[in-house]
């Protein structure tokens, strides 16, 4: 293997507006490589060099004479990428042309000698570079601590803002902050009491205390688990032809909630989901975690088909789906793109796909036709379980025999031969009176023995049933995995052994096992490979995901794609600093939340700044807090919370607001009922592929089998119709009105409380007048409905 070092592309190129301070040296890897990577390499790369030009190494450019070191004007490259006469520049042929600033970077790079480090091989991926230790004293990366900054995060952010001549927005109002924080962490609105307490808390650390209090709430897991379920396609129905419900899929959902509430270290959380059934310490929780492997759609019809082609096709689809999930959600790379050919954009050879497939080749949803829940048994319990199964069989056999004897007795009136002599006496039934005297005794004794045997069976059954059930699939030692040429199942090629991604150079990708390795061992080793701190992807991806949910956009705006097609970090140093701290903190998600939420950056108001917007319309530099719409679950939960109807029940089987009929496929017929069991938080609604709630749908709640790292925030007429006319909304408005009337008799006070419960502040005089008008000409319930439909309620700022 040629000795190459991957280029660390901590790109300063940010949404095409690269600008390098005039006094700053051009650094190839930092400044130039990202430009080539983003705009040129798609066509000009090794093995696929359009016009016979490859930019994989520096040789190509020099040999072809495109670059004359020291002479930008004499370098053809500059002419190619510079627009002339208002025409589009000749290169790049497709995509966005280079900005003036980018051309200037190239010009200066050539002027300085066009240095291309010998070992710099493109395309390397910024995300594959080691996590760089960041020195907080480096003025290039961070600002000095100031009275504004409260966390190191702020110094990184401020640095980038100042580079662009921008300032952060002022701190948000306390009432805004508590509303934003509670929705963000717990997915619920603050109560008027909570708002008042915080607004009046004069302690210096009032904010930190509030953050800690919310971080300790069990609702944290309920809120943040949905973010995770979104990217691991948690489904409580099969999808495909039958879309049958999965009544025992919920333990995984509770596992995720519990893990987040307990602040389970993220590396352990990931290992459990990949190999928790085979990786010590094996617990019920760690076994349930492996539901993640089989949570995707299940093609029941293909499983029962007699066609071998069809079975194989479906099996490969299932594995692709699993590799998609693990690749994108945990590693941030589209490993699935390499099923048929080497990845077109990222350094993932086709062989890597099949190596990772080999890791999971032994994971199946079902062996025969049905995908069923099964008891969750640790290895020790499994031994006991098997013994109990034997015991049950034996006890059932005894019982069956006794019943047979009893039946024979009934039929003939003659006791069957018995091992034990029957005592005499006792009462008899009329029919048995016709038989011998001993019959009655025999019968009575037999009945006693039957009762005993029944008791015996019941005891063992109860013991067997006491184990939790979950949908964790089955494991089988597979035949060696082979690479399919062009992904074609009819073209098997070389066998491959289980391994990690070869492009992660910090770690040996080979896991030290051969193609016949034990199924469990493959997953154990892969789980360690994924969570090894030197793996640069895992920590970066989760840190960015968490950032994404707090700010609405990640430092990398494509949370599941850290490949060449995805976004580049807006604050690369910050991302690495956070990732390194995260690992140092023992992969603690709560520490990460705390670090972000106690920053001045997060506490900025959403105040608009036209100048900042003209420089950075998307607010990637974080000159304010970007307002956002509540997501689907939060809208529903917030209405229930405000109306006082939200059920406090945590965890357990999902609520099912529907009936079903089966006609080969399962049809879900929705109903809307106000009973407490249906007033639970939305995360407890069964996550169905069909049978989804139209109101949640209209609020961009995705189908569970779609990997959704980033919820959309659409605003549509159908959404408006749903919020106006859904009987759920109308009922919550009615319940809220009743609640307000019970609490206060004065309409103005009712209005005040309504504003507090829905918007988190007191109404102003205009609001009061308008509200009073609605109560006067319509009623309080109508006013509650108005508030539930209002932009202010639906928006966080």
């Amino acid at each position: 293997m040629p000795k190459t070092t991957t280029v660390c592309l901590l790109a300063s190129v940010l949404f095409g507006r690269a600008s390098i301070a005039a006094d700053r040296d051009i650094d190839f890897t930092r400044d130039v490589a990202p430009i080539f990577e983003k705009h040129c390499l798609l066509c000009h790369k090794a093995g696929h060099a359009e016009g016979d030009l490859s930019l994989a190494t520096g040789d190509g450019l020099r040999e072809a004479g495109y670059v004359v070191p020291g002479d930008p004007e004499g370098s053809h490259l500059i002419a190619l990428v510079t627009p002339s006469d208002g025409q589009r520049p000749e290169m790049p042929k497709t995509g966005t042309p280079l900005t003036d600033a980018q051309v200037e970077v190239l010009r200066r790079w050539i002027q300085d000698g066009a240095e291309w480090p010998d070992d710099a091989l493109l395309p390397a991926l910024w995300s594959l570079a080691p996590i760089t230790p960041i020195d907080l004293n480096r003025p290039e990366d961070v600002e000095e601590p100031s009275h504004w900054s409260r966390q190191p995060i702020d110094r990184f952010v401020l640095k980038r803002l100042r580079d662009q001549g921008l300032k952060p927005a002022p701190t948000a109002l306390r009432r805004e902050l508590i509303r934003r924080l509670k929705y963000d962490l717990l997915g619920l609105p603050p109560t008027p009491e909570e708002i008042a307490a915080f607004v009046n808390d004069r302690r210096d650390d009032a904010w930190e205390r509030l953050v800690d209090r919310f971080l300790a709430s069990p609702h944290l897991g309920e809120r943040w688990a949905q973010h995770w379920l979104d990217v691991v396609r948690f489904s409580e129905s099969n999808g495909f032809e039958d879309d049958a419900p999965r009544p025992h899929a919920w333990p995984y959902r509770d596992y995720v909630i519990r893990s987040f509430n307990e602040d389970k270290p993220y590396d352990q959380f990931v290992r459990e989901q990949i190999a928790g059934d085979v990786l010590a310490p094996i617990t019920h929780d760690s076994m349930i975690a492996t539901s993640m492997l089989v949570n995707g759609p299940f093609d029941h019809a293909a499983a029962v088909s007699a066609s071998k082609t069809e079975q194989l096709r479906a099996r490969e689809v299932m594995l692709e789906e699993l590799l998609t999930t693990i690749g994108q959600s945990i590693l941030g790379l589209t490993v699935n793109c390499a099923r048929c050919h080497d990845h077109k954009f990222d350094p993932i050879p086709q062989e890597d796909y099949y190596r990772i497939k080999a890791v999971f080749e032994g994971v199946l949803q079902a062996d025969s036709s049905a995908f069923r829940a099964q008891p969750v048994l640790t290895p020790d319990e499994a031994t006991q379980w098997n013994r109990d199964q034997e015991a049950l069989k034996a006890a059932e056999a005894v019982l069956a025999k006794l019943r047979e004897q009893r039946a024979a007795l009934d039929d003939t009136g003659t006791p069957p031969p018995s091992d034990t002599p029957l005592p005499s006496g006792k009462e008899t039934t009329p029919r048995q009176q016709e038989g011998t005297g001993t019959d009655a005794v025999a019968i009575q004794q037999l009945d006693g023995r039957i009762a005993d045997a029944e008791q015996q069976v019941a005891v063992v059954r109860q013991r067997l049933d006491s184990f939790p059930k979950a949908l964790i699939g089955i494991r089988k030692q597979p035949a060696p995995t082979v690479l399919f040429e062009r992904g074609d199942i009819r073209a098997p090629g070389q066998p491959v052994s289980a391994a990690g991604l070869s492009a992660v150079k910090q770690l040996p990708s080979q896991l030290g096992i051969d193609q016949h390795a034990e199924e469990a061992e493959r997953r154990r080793r892969f789980a360690h490979w994924v969570t090894e701190p030197r793996n640069p992807l895992t920590a970066r991806v989760i840190v960015n995901r968490v950032w994404h949910h707090h700010f609405g956009v990640g430092i990398v705006e494509t949370p599941s794609d850290f490949g060449a097609n995805g976004g580049r970090p807006s604050h690369p140093e910050l991302l690495d600093w956070l990732a390194a701290r995260f690992i140092a903190d023992g992969w603690s998600l709560k520490e990460l939340h705390r670090r972000i939420l106690t920053s001045a950056t997060w506490r900025q108001s959403s105040q608009f700044n036209a100048r900042a917007a003209s420089v950075d319309a998307d607010n990637r530099l974080l000159w304010r807090f970007t307002p956002r719409r509540l997501d689907a679950e939060t809208v529903r939960d917030a209405m229930l919370f405000a109306s006082g109807e939200l059920s406090p029940q945590l965890g357990g089987s999902s609520f099912q607001p529907f009936t079903t009929t089966t006609f080969n496929t399962t049809f879900y017929h929705l109903f809307d009922k106000g009973d407490s069991e249906f007033n639970r938080r939305t995360i407890y609604r069964m996550h169905l592929n069909t049978g989804r709630d139209p109101l949640l749908d209209a609020l961009d709640c995705p189908a569970p089998s779609v990997l959704t790292p980033h919820r959309r925030q659409t605003i549509t007429p159908l959404q408006a119709l749903g919020l106006m006319n859904d009987t759920f909304v109308l009922r919550q408005a009615e319940k809220l009105a009743t609640r307000l009337e019970q609490n206060k008799s004065d309409p103005n006070q009712q209005i005040g409380e309504l504003w507090q419960r829905t918007l988190g502040h007191e109404p102003d005089p205009d609001d009061l007048a308008r509200a009073a008008d609605v109560i006067c000409h319509a009623d309080l319930q109508t006013l509650c409905w108005v508030l539930f439909n209002s932009s202010e309620f639906l928006q966080i700022r």
């Binding site: 759609p297 019809a301 096709r313 036209a610 998307d618 189908a703 959309r712 925030q713 006013l783």
Partner: protein, 495 residues
């Protein structure tokens, strides 16, 4: 209502122009729009609020150029279950000769249920029809009269012999759950012609929903507004939430709506930079108009007796199906971009779709009657109204059926067959009255010009003015396409 609002530019000049001057369409960039706010809050100038979509990447990666569309709208008649090609449109005299003999010389036979019987000639007699002389079986006496307007493809192949993956492929291009359907792609790529109606309407078979229900018209990873809106056939109004519930006092609602709009306008005024707030004001206004325009569109009372007879609306056996076909015409007339008619429901028993495992004749008789007259009426009606000139009508199943029987039960059924089957298209931009591609002598494999589902989709998009390679949406690392990385436009069937 359509076309009354000419203030919709600048985000959508093309739509505004389309109403006035169809010739300008060729300069139209594909309609991927940035939402443009309007400080004055004149809502007529606010861009289609429901197009607000906070994902810059989606916009930046959109194609900016395409070509003149032949078709402005699409009707897809989907006959789930697997329609037998040799019993409908693909006439195979050789099967008559080989009737009762095993199929040989074609390699391993690997069917879905694994019990291949002997070759079986068509259960129906075939005849040539129209000036084009195309073959149609006796199953479709009405459609047979339309053959001069049909463009057959007789060499279709698909990937899976299992219904749902094959249905997914026909409807979304992929055999997996979770990909956007053709209609969602069109909604995303072309936008709407009438913002008061959904862009993509699904008309499920009145006998029941298909397997996978809404998965068949899912928007997948596209934004929610591109999801197909399935119109209900029952009494609760065509779509959820359209009617104000009876429990709501009308005068209270009016007062509430006024207060709501005022509040939302105030907030929008206070935050002129936030598009979402303007969009919501607009969305509520539009939703109110939808409450009138959707019921109007589905009301058939103003159709003439002749039209109702043509479709068979009052025919006791096929009335439900006929209403769907008539409704499709009304919807495309009103600017709905894509209507998908389901001619068949789920796979249960008794059969309400084309899955003829037990008895082809009995099954196809029952299903054919639901399709034949209403579909022929739709083609006739579109044509006489001049709508066929810029409407594309497409018929397909998810796959065909084996030319041999299934050796179980009565032995009168046929198994699933993904390796070759027939579809047809009609209308805008096509060479009518022709047949493209051929199956082999027994309709087991393609013989000439195999056509994949990718090609089929690429051609449909092409007719609608879209380059299938450039209609992309970034999702998790990939610029996704309806046609994945495949597909060629079938040039030979284009006019």
């Amino acid at each position: 209502m359509r076309g009354t609002d000419h203030q919709r530019q600048p985000y959508d000049e093309a739509t505004a122009m389309r109403d006035d001057d169809a010739t300008t369409i060729s300069q139209t960039p594909l309609l991927r729009r940035h939402f443009l706010g309007d400080a004055a809050l004149g809502t007529s100038a606010i861009a289609l609020a429901w197009l607000l979509e906070r994902d810059a990447r989606a916009d930046t990666q959109q194609p900016v150029a395409h070509f003149a569309p032949q078709a402005k709208r699409l009707i897809h008649i989907f006959s789930p279950g697997g329609v037998s090609q040799v019993d409908t449109f693909d006439y195979k005299p050789e099967l008559e000769r080989l009737d009762g003999q095993p199929l040989t010389g074609k390699g391993d036979i690997d069917t879905f249920f694994g019990r291949p019987g002997n070759l079986r000639k068509s259960y129906y007699r075939f005849a040539r029809h129209g000036q084009s002389g195309q073959w149609v079986s006796k199953l479709f006496p009405h459609l047979a009269k339309c053959v001069d307007d049909l463009t057959f493809i007789k060499s279709m192949v698909t990937k899976s012999s299992s219904h749902t993956p094959a249905c997914f492929q026909m409807n979304t291009g992929f055999t997996m759950n979770g990909f956007p359907s053709l209609g969602a792609w069109l909604s995303y790529g072309l936008g709407t012609e009438n913002e008061e109606l959904p862009t993509f309407v699904v008309l499920p078979d009145p006998r029941g929903l298909p397997n996978g229900g809404s998965n068949n018209w899912s928007q997948g990873f596209l934004p929610a507004q591109h999801q197909g809106v399935a119109f209900r056939t029952g009494g609760n109004g065509p779509i959820a939430h359209l009617k104000t519930p009876a429990s709501v006092d009308v005068s209270h609602r009016r007062i509430g709506v006024a207060a709501l709009l005022a509040m939302n306008r105030d907030v929008a005024t206070a935050h002129p930079d936030e598009d979402a707030l303007l969009a919501r004001v607009r969305a509520y206004e539009l939703s109110a108009r939808m409450q009138a325009s959707i019921p109007e569109a589905v009301e058939l009372d103003d159709e003439t007796a002749e039209t109702r007879r043509l479709y068979g609306v009052d025919h006791p056996a096929i009335g439900g199906s006929a209403r769907n076909f008539l409704l499709a015409r009304r919807l495309v007339e009103r600017g709905v971009r894509f209507v998908q008619i389901f001619n068949g429901g789920a796979l249960g028993s008794p059969r309400i779709n084309w899955d003829a495992h037990e008895d082809v004749r009995r099954n196809h008789d029952n299903q054919g009657i639901q399709l034949d007259q209403p579909c022929a009426a739709l083609l006739t009606d579109l044509k006489r109204r001049g709508l066929l000139e810029d409407t594309l009508v497409v018929w397909s199943s998810e796959f065909g059926r084996t030319p041999f029987t299934e050796a179980k039960g009565s032995g009168l059924g046929r198994d699933h067959h993904p390796d070759v089957f027939t579809t047809w298209m009609a209308g805008a931009g096509l060479k009518p009255g022709i047949s493209y591609g051929e199956s082999d002598e027994v309709a087991y494999k393609p013989a000439v010009n195999p056509v994949t589902v990718y090609d089929f989709h690429a051609t449909i998009l092409h007719l609608l003015g879209i380059d299938h390679e450039r209609l992309t949406y970034y999702h998790n690392g990939i610029a996704r396409r309806l046609t994945n990385v495949h597909g060629h436009v079938i040039q030979d069937i284009l006019a």
